[in-house]
């Protein structure tokens, strides 16, 4: 009760009577109180965030815009018509659809939009993606990742969005779904031999299964990166156990996967990614 109710008049009168005494008392209190240094915050506008993602070509730009607006129906229509015109499906994916979804994820990180917008743009990307994939046909995947949500946690929105993006990037995702017990995760890793495994957790009470899984993997002699993500974890948490790497979003997830194909160790990858935050 910092400003107790009914305080105004009584305190005001007292202050008016003897301001000097009160000012000296507050300076005394201030001397005891530690003042933390101010953190520097870099603020970018929404336009600045969108710019590096925006394609140059007009036709691609239109699709990009529809994805950022989260309009699945029009995105699909335009992608179909572009494919008919002969636009390369890979260009549509890599220059319009994927950057659109990634840009909205960045806007979310910066506080310009919320989860509904991210879901809608990811939906729009997928609507276009299925036609592009059909046009390309079966291609060789870049590698596998096993994804799961922590045991006891049923929040899988974040995992689903990252899954869509990684699939669009050409990775095969083995999705174990929400609330997965540790032994199921280890079993899936042994069966599928992925580049990396990921676990997401929103509820802090559920994240303690991650160090457990990491240990079980190590006991099996597996030393692939264990990407942890979601609201309940951070960099410090990931550094508490071997294999742990904290990913803020899909971007870092992809860096981990790419780094594994470049034969980097989890230790080096962790160092690289954690120092980028």
């Amino acid at each position: 009760m910092t400003t107790p109710r009914g305080l105004g008049i009584e305190v005001g009168r007292k202050f008016a009577k003897n301001p000097d005494v009160l000012i000296s008392r507050i300076s005394a209190i201030l001397k005891e109180t530690k003042i933390p240094p101010k953190a520097k915050v870099e603020v970018k506008s929404a336009e600045e965030i969108l710019k590096p993602f925006t394609p140059q070509q007009e036709n691609l730009k239109r699709i990009f815009k529809l994805v950022t607006d989260g309009d699945a129906k029009k995105t699909e229509e335009l992608v179909v018509s572009e494919l008919k015109k002969g636009t390369k499906p890979l260009d549509l994916i890599e220059k319009a659809l994927l950057p659109g979804a990634l840009a909205v994820a960045k806007l979310y990180d910066a506080g310009y939009c919320y989860v509904p917008e991210v879901l809608l743009s990811s939906g729009a990307m997928n609507a276009g993606l299925k036609h592009c994939k059909a046009a390309i046909g079966e291609t060789k995947k870049k590698g596998k990742i096993v994804m799961h949500v922590a045991d006891g946690d049923i929040h899988e929105i974040g995992k689903n969005i990252v899954k869509a993006i990684l699939e669009a990037k050409g990775y095969e995702v083995i999705d174990l779904g929400p609330s997965v017990p540790p032994d199921k995760v280890v079993e899936a890793v042994k069966t599928h031999k992925p580049l990396a495994v990921s676990g997401t957790s929103l509820m802090t009470t559920t994240r303690m299964t991650f160090p457990k899984i990491a240990k079980m993997l190590a006991d099996e002699g597996i030393d692939i990166p264990f990407i942890v993500a979601g609201g309940a974890v951070n960099q410090q948490f990931a550094e508490q156990f071997n294999l742990g790497i904290y990913a803020k979003g899909a971007e870092q997830g992809e860096v981990v996967l790419r780094s594994v194909t470049e034969r980097k160790s989890w230790k080096d990858i962790r160092k690289e990614i954690h120092s980028s935050y």
């Binding site: 009760m1 910092t2 109710r5 305080l7 009584e10 109180t33 989260g70 989860v115 802090t204």
Partner: protein, 364 residues
Amino acid sequence: MVGEMPPKKRVFSALMGGRVDRIPAIALSNFCVELMDAAGVSWPDCQTKSEEMAKLQAARYEVYGLDSLCSHNDLVSEAEPLGAKISLGKRDRHLSVASKVFGDKEPKDVSMPDKILGKGRLPMIERVVEILSERYGDVLPIFRMITGPMTVAGHAFGIERVLEWSKTNPDKFQAALNFMADLDVEIMRESMRHGADILYMPDPSASGDLLSPEAFKEFLVPTYRKITGKLGGIPTFLHICGHTGKFLELIPETGFDGFSFEVPGVSVEETKSAVGDRISLIGSVQTLNTLLGGTPETVRKESLQQMLEGVDLLCPACGLPNYTPNKNVIAMVEAAKEYEIPTSVDEKMEEFLRGIAIGISKKG
């Protein structure tokens, strides 16, 4: 001082912004293994049998020494009678919803099941309220915990769909919320007949991490007003986890008497300066760092600091983690007893100046 108050009076008064002898200490959930042991109850009985549940709930007072009791602790008892399958969890894991209720159906295609109050866990919970009210109702307030409309809508229709509707189809979104608001009101009215005094409404999915302030203002605020306006003026409070900073200005408009917020998602100072005296503040001793991971002394220090900064009811920031030691919750209660609310002009002045000092130091 207004003399030693019975806890019931203390909690009512603090929630409604009135005089208190000291700040009351309450808790949201108490699903803790050490408390189960102290209360002499076993799992799963303490989640499935009224008599055992009542014992665990009474331990809030008997073991922790808190100023309030509560009906139960799960977020699934509203979705279950609509048809959700629930998982009972474990001794150290909360109950959860295992399947959404309505599949791909839309709000216009669904109707309230007949005699819904007789379904699922609801009758069992009402029996707990009855037992607590009979045994403790003269001295302690009985909270009825009812999951908020946004969270139950997520359980019923799927949270991703509900969130998308908030952008693409306002009518569907509002219809889903209205449906759940009606259910919540019906449950609370029934529970008041069994002896519940205060509505405690957790709505974790209405978080600032998921929804925009615009959507909160346009849809959630009127939905909450609808609920709080239909309960005959009993005290009510809302809990939302995580980052609620952008909603704070709107919270007093919901019609709830108290708001339970979560540090570190928002700070006490930020919350107090946004809502002022328009709503009572409930919180917000950090659950992981302090109550689970800290010592009685760190709990005491944080509690005292938060009361100084402006919380009206001292409470953990969110549900207690399963392995919270009893002694840490007891330390929180002791801190509430230790903290003296200033009464003389001099004391108030001292506190006022301290408030300025805290404000300046945090501004940096």
